[in-house]
């Protein structure tokens, strides 16, 4: 197993710190989910980890060797993100097949047969120009490049944006099939959290340029709870715990709790249910309340 590691990454644009002392460790052979609000720093982090963007500070290594400008490291990585239909000179008149040909030129393990299969599956007209593609087709092209690259570490930045439900399910299926067959590492950042949650073995949650959580998804969810009941009972039961997004309806109160370790019991008088990743993330975004 190799480790793609980013240590103490800081990225600033002028006075603004987009990433503040971020450290990540990506173990190969696993599927990672990367979630965070818009502007949290997901794309910046991913482009720094893949040396497509220089960090202001920090070290990025693959197996201990630096990634920046390093042929060996770069040949194991594919970072596929959406191609812009517009360039600064006007519409992006590059044809899909030219783009794919460029991808084929650079990715050492490119699988052309697989690419052709995927092109058919997503029904893409490769003679079309990128500026003329719909959002869904743009996403599909991104996915095709990522999968056909056969790179050991494949990173997809919001791959399902613009895809309809059928195409999305298709994508998840493709990832699982590919992962089952090859054990490639996948890092997928997405806003459609709940659909993708069952794919992730590990989860990274980033907020305002800092990594909040970086662990096994199962373990994170094993210590997340939705506690509901009478307001006083809930307050009493959840005293001392980190509480998120408290909501009240009459005398009924619901809070989301994220404990440091799994909790045996919250006592009688309250109902406790598990929380899904999406609901947990939403509650975290809504804010932590230290007082009950």
């Amino acid at each position: 197993m190799s480790i793609l590691s980013g240590k103490n990454i800081v990225k600033s644009y002028g006075k603004e710190n987009v990433l503040k002392n971020v450290s990540v460790e990506i173990e190969t052979g696993k599927i990672y989910g990367l979630i965070g609000r818009n502007g949290a720093g997901k794309t910046t982090l991913l482009s720094i980890l893949t040396a497509q963007n220089p960090a202001s500070q920090g070290e990025i290594t693959l197996d201990g060797k630096p990634v920046w400008e390093n042929e060996e490291s770069l040949s194991h990585i594919c970072y596929s993100r959406e191609i812009s239909p517009v360039t600064m000179f006007g519409p992006n008149t590059l044809k899909v097949k030219e783009y794919l040909a460029t991808a084929r030129a650079f990715y050492i393990n490119w699988d052309e047969a697989y690419a052709k299969e995927l092109i058919k599956l997503f029904n893409i007209d490769i003679k079309k120009r990128i500026s003329k593609l719909s959002k869904g087709m743009l996403s599909a092209v991104t996915i095709i490049v990522a999968l056909a690259s056969k790179a050991d570490i494949t990173i997809l930045d919001e791959p399902v944006a613009g895809l309809d439900v059928v195409a999305r399910e298709q994508f998840y299926k493709l990832v699982i099939e590919e992962y089952s067959e090859t054990g490639r590492t996948f890092i997928i950042s997405t806003h459609i959290i709940e659909e993708a949650a069952s794919l992730f073995e590990k989860i990274i949650i980033i907020d305002k340029g800092e990594i909040k959580y970086q662990e096994n998804l199962d373990e994170l969810l094993s210590r997340a709870y939705r506690v509901s009941g009478d307001t006083d009972a809930v307050d009493k039961a959840t005293e001392g715990f980190k509480i998120y997004n408290p909501e009240s309806l009459g005398r009924n109160k619901v809070v989301t709790v994220l404990a440091d370790k799994p909790v045996e019991s919250f006592g009688e008088g309250v109902q406790v249910e598990p929380v899904s990743l999406q609901n947990l993330f939403y509650a975290m975004c809504m804010g932590e309340r230290k007082e009950a």
Binding site: Y172, Y179, S180, S198, L199, E201, D218, P274
Partner: protein, 122 residues
């Protein structure tokens, strides 16, 4: 087979429970092969490691065993083991809930017993 995995429990636990249910119901018989991790993960669209975790729990419980190069099979005596374990947990998992609800709506022990007798006849 489960159509859909719910939110309420860890996915790997749902997988292992689902397989146990099938063994109990006779859908999966002893010495029969169980779907592979890959098949399970593709069917439910879950991470293969999660599917593997579910299967491994059952291997640890000696409900399933591995035939090298072929796959996972139901252990002889698995049904018995599952029944024993579920009997042990029956009170916690089901009975307690009935009693709590009965108390809540004022059904006393006798009424409960009557209901159970009735159901036996059906």
């Amino acid at each position: 087979m489960l159509d859909n995995l719910g939110e309420d429990k860890s996915i790997y636990l749902q997988i292992s429970e689902m397989i146990e249910d099938e063994i109990l119901r006779g859908i999966l018989n002893e010495e029969e092969q169980v779907p592979s991790t890959t098949e399970l993960s593709k069917f439910y669209k879950i991470n293969p490691a999660t599917a593997a975790k579910g299967i491994n729990i059952l291997v640890d419980k000696e409900v399933l065993y591995k035939k090298r190069g072929i796959g996972m099979f139901v252990q002889t005596g698995a049904k018995g083991k599952i029944i024993e374990e579920r009997k042990k947990n029956f009170y916690e998992t089901f009975v307690k809930k009935i009693i709590t609800e009965a108390k809540l709506i004022g059904i006393d022990k006798q009424e409960l017993k009557k209901m159970i007798d009735q159901s036996n006849e059906e």
